[in-house]
């Protein structure tokens, strides 16, 4: 892993040369999708969608999870071959009847999926040329030519610090995303489809990404940008297309549009506010973590978290902000006993030192954690929705090891109602739910353990706007009941919208500890990047007395 702050230093310069110059030609639109419709069984997923894209234009495609964005892009990239959907696609003035992704890539349509399609063990070069290798006689890899080409490509993208011979797993998510784009450009992409490209990137990495897209636009490459993060859409898109329930809702030029208007179009109603901040009382100290240090499992000399101490109070929402790689996940994992490498430190609950060396012990002490990676660490794919929810508390409904399935189902049903979890039956496979509802199931699993301290690591990642608001509401319900919440989040506006206090981490250390009042994104970001010492007391003069006392109590 390359330290995230290295990435922050990158400045995207001008592209010296770009190989795939799109000629301005006779057709008005690079791509026209007309009346696209798609049916699965009896269910209509898309209904008469029209989209037009000019060369060098960036279209923002917005819609809630399940609105049909991915389906539409699968139609465009021929994951669903020509003939399996209705309508027509005109590409560079000609009808496009592609039967496979190979056909669309040959035409110049390249899709970059949310989950990156890179092989971690292979080098940067090998990943860039995957499937399009330059070869010598007899099928041998022409490494010399590929290295040269790859380095040239990365220079164009202003990422000179990358060693193209190194396995890609040594680089972080931000670099990997850029390599994916390089890979696409290497295929002579004229239209780049980016599906949630920023979901695992830090703010500075996102800035690099957006800059790159701007330059591609200038070179005539068109983009379809799919994102839940509307600020990004606003920053780079020329036109915004909103779809809902498979229907085309609106196509509006960006300059004529406001963010809340897009949200309203997406959800079909005016959202009162995204962050329903509610008053709650902050009580006594619950959890203190002292001198937490986490060592890198590959390189024991390196500290991922360096002697960090913090505390959280009853009914308090503590936000932990920072760039990816700052050590936030490692810190909360270590507190919960889930950190994989070696770690040091002491955790106190209500003043008494407690053993939190494994998740099992932590949960018994009243700690709970909703992990960052829902697919790999949150859900158990082969169990159904209900079984996932009760996994941590099976003993509560069992006697002599036998599960009382009636009692279990009762609890599951009441939880489903309480959290507004949308599932037709608790016996459905968990994988059939949307991301937001899966997250609610994971949350419910942890809530059933009745925690005093709940750690949420990126609780709204990959969750649509509607479910996000419900999760925020749930968080406020919990703090009102006296639960202490520790929320790690890469979305700054989320941290600022929800948290009572914000801890900013950078390079494994705490770089700032702010009361969330008059706090701005710029201040948090500045602290995270470490530009200048941040004097906490200086900008906290307006803090309420009770919160000021919390401040003094900080270790």
């Amino acid at each position: 892993m390359v330290p995230a702050n290295m990435l922050a230093k990158f400045s995207v310069g001008t592209m010296v040369m770009i190989h795939n110059v799109v000629k301005v030609s006779m057709f008005d639109y690079l791509l026209e999708m007309k009346g696209i419709g798609k049916q699965f069984g009896g269910v209509r997923a898309l209904n008469g969608i029209d989209i037009k894209i000019k060369a060098g234009e960036c279209i923002g495609l917005c819609g809630e999870n399940g609105a049909g964005k991915s389906t539409l892009m699968k139609v465009l990239s021929a994951v669903y071959p020509y003939g399996s959907w209705e309508g027509e696609i005109i590409w560079e003035g000609q009808p496009l009847q592609a039967h496979s992704i190979r056909d669309t890539e040959a035409a110049g349509i390249v899709i970059i999926h949310q989950e990156l399609m890179l092989v971690p063990e292979l080098s940067v070069v090998e990943n860039i040329f995957m499937g399009h290798e330059l070869t010598l006689f007899g099928g041998r890899m022409n490494y010399a030519a590929m290295h040269q080409r790859a380095e040239q490509l990365l220079r164009e993208l202003s990422i000179p610090e990358m060693n193209v011979a190194l396995p890609i797993m040594h680089y972080g998510g931000g670099h990997q995303q850029l390599v994916e784009i390089a890979k696409a450009l290497n295929k002579n992409a004229k239209l780049l489809i980016l599906d949630e490209p920023s979901s695992s990137l830090t703010s500075s990495e996102i800035a690099v990404l957006l800059n790159l897209i701007r330059q591609l636009k200038a070179k005539g490459v068109a983009c379809v940008y799919i994102s839940h993060k509307l600020e990004e859409v606003a920053a780079i898109c020329d036109t915004v297309v909103v779809i809902r329930d498979g229907e085309h809702i609106a196509t509006t030029p960006m300059h004529a549009l406001q963010l809340d208007r897009i949200i309203a179009q997406m959800v079909g109603r005016e959202m009162a506010t995204l962050y329903p901040k509610e008053e709650h009382v902050i009580g006594e100290l619950v959890l203190e973590a002292r001198n937490i240090t986490c060592f890198d499992s590959d390189n024991p000399e390196r500290k991922r978290v360096d002697n960090v101490s913090f505390s959280v109070r009853k009914g308090e929402i503590l936000g932990i902000a920072g760039l990816v790689g700052a050590g936030r996940t490692e810190l909360v994992s270590a507190v919960f006993g889930a950190y994989h490498g070696k770690s040091d430190g002491e955790v106190r609950l209500h003043g008494a030192v407690v053993d939190t060396s494994s998740p099992l012990k932590s949960i018994r002490q009243g700690l709970a954690m909703v992990p960052e990676d829902r697919k790999h660490h949150g859900i158990v794919a082969d169990l159904d929705v209900g079984q996932n929810m009760t996994l941590a508390v099976l003993q509560q409904f069992s006697q002599y090891g036998k599960i009382d399935q009636g009692a279990e189902l009762n609890v599951i049903r009441s939880e489903i109602t309480k959290l507004g979890l949308k599932t037709a039956s608790p016996r459905l496979p968990i994988t059939s739910l949307s991301g937001g509802n899966q997250q609610k199931a994971v949350l419910s699993k942890m809530l059933l353990t009745q925690p005093k301290v709940l750690i949420l690591d990126e609780p709204t990642r990959g969750v649509d706007v509607g479910a996000k608001v419900e999760i925020y509401k749930l968080i406020f319900t919990l703090v009102k009941q006296g639960v202490a919440i520790i929320m790690v989040s890469s979305e700054l506006d989320e941290v600022l919208g929800i948290a009572d206090r914000v801890l900013v981490m950078g390079e494994g250390k705490i770089r700032g500890n702010f009361i969330n009042k008059l706090l701005t994104q710029e201040m948090v970001l500045a602290a995270a990047i470490g530009s200048g010492a941040v004097n906490q007391s200086a900008n906290q003069t307006a803090a309420k007395p009770d919160i000021a006392s919390i401040n003094r109590n900080l270790a």
Partner: protein, 390 residues
Amino acid sequence: MITTTKMTTMVSGTSLKHLFSQYKMLALMLSIALIWIFFNWQTDGGFLTPRNLSNLLRQMSVTGILACGMALVIIGGEIDLSVGSLLGLLGGIAAVLNVSYPLPLALNLAVVLGCGLLFGLFNGFLTAYLRIPSFIVGLGGMLAYRGMLLGVTGGITIAPVSSGLVYLGQGYLPVQIGMLLGMVLMGLSVFLLWKKRSSNTHYGLPVAPLWRDGLRIVMIGGILFAFIRTLNDYEGIPLPVLLLLVLLGIFSYITTQTVFGRRIYAVGSNMEATRLSGVNVQSVKLWIFGLMGLMCALAGVVNTGRLAAGSPSAGTISELDAIAACFIGGTSMRGGSGTVHGALIGALVMASLDNGMSMLDVDTYWQMIVKGGILTLAVWVDVMTRSGRR
């Protein structure tokens, strides 16, 4: 609006999948019926006689006992290749204790079962706590346990074992007790069904209509009656088959009703998520292997009894039969899904092929080719029907 469309997709999706999984069990039953009809036709009615069916079930009992344990191991996301050698070793120990040091049978059994549990726990410890891949632990065990067996027996067949031990492998339940057992089982299923109805009523859950439960009771009764009647027409229920039935009951109970069972599925499906949910995943794995070792001990004793001797080659490649039975019975190779009764039906398929082809005097090499082909075919069908999911 959005949620209703989503839900319809989900419901139709699952009912289809549900149908598939039900259909899969049905397909297995159907293929067994076809195999039986084919062999019966080829042997001019020699296959479907009480005597042969009794033999067939006895033949499958060793593989079946192993398959019970192996199903848990595979559902838990692991594999155990050492069970064939371990079965041989434990059967050998039972024979040696019986012949060279005439221990009372009960003590002998206790020692062998204890050894089985310990060996299993040792395998589990290496896999779960020392994080050695179970494939390697199994491979090592396969060699080491076979070596121990050669050492214990001195490389020669240990015989003759006492009549008590032989009875365990070859004996039959007296006809009257068989009938009595049938009635007890019948009463038990009526009782369990009634208990489920009353518990559902208690928790306000939907209760199946009375006629359907009635029909179910009639069906269970019919199958039980036909089963016991057929076996009683020969000599009675063979003891190994009785043991297998008991194990089927116990393991089905473990996998569907207990906390431990639920955790086996969770660990096999996503170990990390399960660990983060506060489950001691290492101990779950440890005990899965412990149970497997116990099953090896039972299978070893039955095998020794069946052969009336402890043989240094006992149980060779029977681990592969057990694994094949699990896969034919629909256990997922990734772990996380599968059933014990499926694995036993898989074992029945394998045993039927063995038995039928032997009756037809098919060459051994053809038998192996056919069994290999059937295993591959069954897993292919399984992969095809699952492909919609992944």
